[in-house]
Point group: C2
Chain length 456, copies 2
Amino acid sequence: MIPMTSLLLTDLYELAMLDAYHADGMEEEAVFDFFVRELPPGHGYLVAAGLAQVLEMLRDARFSDEELRWLAGDGGFRAGFVDWLRGFRFTGTLHAMPEGTLFFPDEPVLRVTAPLPQAQLVETRIINLLQYQILVATKAARCATAAPDSELVDFGLRRAHGAEAGLLAARASWLGGFSGTSAVLAAPRYGVPVYGTMAHSFIEAYDDESVAFERFARARPRDLVLLIDTYDTEGAAHKLVSLAERLAADGIRIQAVRLDSGDLAEHARHVRRILDEGGLADVRIFASGGLDEYAVASLLADGAPIDGFGIGSRLDTSADVPYLDCAYKLCEYAGTPRRKHSEHKATWPGRKQVVRRYRGNGVMGGDRIQRDDEPVDGEPLLKRVMAHGEIEQPVPTLRESREYLRRQLGRLPEELRALDAAADYPVEVSDRVRALAREADVRIDEQRLSGPRGAW
Amino acid sequence: MIPMTSLLLTDLYELAMLDAYHADGMEEEAVFDFFVRELPPGHGYLVAAGLAQVLEMLRDARFSDEELRWLAGDGGFRAGFVDWLRGFRFTGTLHAMPEGTLFFPDEPVLRVTAPLPQAQLVETRIINLLQYQILVATKAARCATAAPDSELVDFGLRRAHGAEAGLLAARASWLGGFSGTSAVLAAPRYGVPVYGTMAHSFIEAYDDESVAFERFARARPRDLVLLIDTYDTEGAAHKLVSLAERLAADGIRIQAVRLDSGDLAEHARHVRRILDEGGLADVRIFASGGLDEYAVASLLADGAPIDGFGIGSRLDTSADVPYLDCAYKLCEYAGTPRRKHSEHKATWPGRKQVVRRYRGNGVMGGDRIQRDDEPVDGEPLLKRVMAHGEIEQPVPTLRESREYLRRQLGRLPEELRALDAAADYPVEVSDRVRALAREADVRIDEQRLSGPRGAW
């Protein structure tokens, strides 16, 4: 079976265009930008994420014999074109904002420079990889900002949209500032710390809740967290008080309890009192169930004595912002700047850089989208990360990217860190980029006038 | 690297529970149900989907040496437990509603009967596979109901959440009634027809739009669809009128044009007139861009002359219903019915069947959730699809499941097919299931009373 991450995981139109480009000899250098058109409502920023997976995909991009056979057979592609695909490699150059960079609308996050067919074919998967991790890393950063002293754990694998979403959500949420994930595979794949307790079914499988707690504690004494809401949350907390004493005799300590239903603030207050009165002041309370950055902020504002949160479905599906208005657009071909001109979807042409300036106090002061060859006054955000199809070394580790994001969030103007950011971060477009856009428009108008005219 | 669909693609708590079960000899037969607690707002039904992927996952479930090494090493699991995992196989039985079955809240869609550790380990991935395909198949069915005479194509791969989501969305949307997908890999993997045209970048790469159209047409003459909104939609339609004549001389026919921006209804009317007046009455109009079932219904109600729709981001991310309130719950262990009793999250215990009754006119009249051993008066919806870990043959093809869904939608009461379904389909729970729930509650209360009591 052809693997899920095959180059055939693309839109048919990419291959159709390649076929036409190949037939027509259109193989000169093209430049494409990936960018986001607008911030989701209430958002003050987005977090760049997913670059590592894009680099690996480009480095390994080639067609297998099985894929080529399908293309020539049921795929219905011409033999000459399929032969040409046999030699397909990505030999281009990438400039990108490092993972963890805060970015804003219209800023190129990634720039691909390669022969047109190469740069075109990879469009679909580049968007597919970047958009989702940007969404999750951004949501995680918002959660971490809302609950800076809490332990936050990604619980979303089961309701993520498929295998890769669950796995990449674990990666992106750790990048965004989470402490870890429940998704085991994220540990060997990305080094993300994994967390886990027990399900209600564990409690139910035993005839007695106390027995279930004790058996679990003795089998899994490390990092012991017990789920106490299967039948009666407060009743279970009382059971723990007596259990804790028996376990302590054997050197086993209950680290935390987890609440997963009902009024979490109310239960947390009751449970906190029971635990405190039972001498278990150091047992922490962990809550889960339908949470996101807004729910966590509200629980903490309400003074709920909750030390950590499991955040699942709403994180892994990015429930309130399930997709971004993002695009991968041609901005130059064969040395000529190009620009789309559809209604409300115009793009900035040419090779561009994003330069960030900081105020005297180190706070971010504004970005400037400028031509790549303009003088740089500030920090250029797009770095070269791939040349001639090879990944530039060293690649930052995920931990480094996580730390980089944390530092930047500290330099973001306060009003943009809010969950309901009211202000816009200043992003200006340089005069030279604007001039290039006007030139492109003149060219478009000339060819429009050269064609037949409509009645309106 | 450990593959994405490894058994380690699970929550850590599943492995933690297995470890405890193994230590404690808890390996008797368990029964788990997968079900959905409520319909999303405005929904009259849900569509069962994803069973084929669950069956394959269970059939192939085993740990590789690399995975076992990780578990024993960085994973920190005890050697005895890891040794036991080496022999892990799924040997259980599955009863399920066939893909394409319409179902309703609280109805078991899938019932897993297996030794407790086996049935527990696979929880996460079963939910992960079923939930997403149910969401997409349901949305596709709603689109198809809203536009029964239109060609509907899944365009969502790029904004789907990762690789598997894009691929399974193509599968599930075809099951739901779409004509096909843009995602190439869905053809060799699932036999889904693929569709594709061109991107704006193709037009922009050429200096002249007319030249771009003609080169594409000559390179890809079959199923020719041209994208006409890159610069000036109506202007491009006029260009096509003269191009069509030149192409016709070489036997090439333009099948359709695609609009992707602006006021789609307005542009479609203008373009229709230009094409009709230019003798191209048989060239169809295809629209895309931010569509879902509501937008399609509104365009058609508005009389827009659009023959087909590309539906992307909102379908593949199930944007208005990004996740379901679904669960995989223990309902029996070691012969005793089990039940969770958390607030607002109670479940029905025991082995259950869903029986559907039809009215004299063939329209669905109501479902009954009953014990598996109660007499059946109607059509039992749960069929045995796996026994002793082996998939029961024959497995319906995806095309058969698609046809099965189409027939059932024809038997669904009209008011439940609406995009804003106001009515509830009648689902009753049998007296014997209710009695079983009461028995389980008595047992829970007894053990609750046997433990320490809280102050409130």
